[in-house]
Chain length 155, copies 2
């Protein structure tokens, strides 16, 4: 069958998004803006980043092992703490990715006792959720008068 994309390409795509999200964290003008500013009573970006951190490595761990360790979402208290956790998770993702068993992407599994779908779709959900919440952070930045990082730039 026609290859749509390879696992290596999907990893690179995800890592490109993670670099952009990292720059979005850096773009916040202060820790206070990062942890407290929001629009429409939404969670501030620190809260959204806490959610992203609680999903990415735990989901990939489940994809690799079939075990789904719940991790509580804790908002990072500063931009520096957020970036340190972000970078540690990126390293962990790069370690775990090659351990995804052959044939696993097309297996159906239930993540965290709740989300039943093919493994490729569980991974897409994690990336889509990052794009979704990062887009929201762009609005917070604009409302703060800050130009967000360029969306197409994933280097």
């Amino acid at each position: 069958m026609d290859t749509l994309l390879t696992p290596d390409q999907l990893l690179d795509h995800w890592l490109g998004h993670r670099r952009l999200t990292r720059r979005t964290i850096e773009a916040f003008p202060s820790d206070d803006a990062f942890t407290s500013f929001s629009v429409g009573e939404m969670r501030p970006f620190a809260g959204l980043v806490g959610e992203l951190l609680s999903m990415s490595v735990p989901t990939l761990t489940g994809v690799v092992s079939g075990e789904w360790p719940m991790e509580q979402a804790t908002p990072p208290a500063t931009r520096e703490r957020a970036l340190a956790r972000w970078d540690a998770d990126t390293e962990r993702i790069e370690e775990l990715w090659p351990q995804i068993p052959d044939g696993r992407f097309q297996e159906v599994d239930t993540a965290f006792g709740q989300w039943t779908m093919p493994v490729w779709e569980l991974l897409f959900y994690v990336v889509d959720n990052e794009v979704h919440h990062r887009g929201q952070a762009y609005v917070f930045l604009r409302a703060l008068g800050v130009e967000p990082p360029a969306f197409p730039d994933r280097a």
Copy 2:
């Protein structure tokens, strides 16, 4: 090689996102909110939807044919007009998708004289851009006091 996902699965994934974006358009409480409300001097959601409309079918047309017709982004004037254009494009996407030539996803092409990457990545860009801007519309809705549609629901 291990199949990550099939073209049919990627189409279904995209159509799921399109259903959610459609519900996001419907969630705006008035045409005025849709075409005029924004945060931080951003384009209102009608402007963002105009951009999404100008990208999806033109990109898929380029993927199918190798020709890249530029289409100007015109913001829909009402929610009803937006939904009519959205639904017409969804139909067109369903018609065009099965016409993607074998082996095309891994070919590198330059979209609209500007974006050079493998075809799968051009398609991912269109979907990611939709997720990104729809996330922004969620903030606009929250700022308007409206609960956005449930993110995980793609039915």
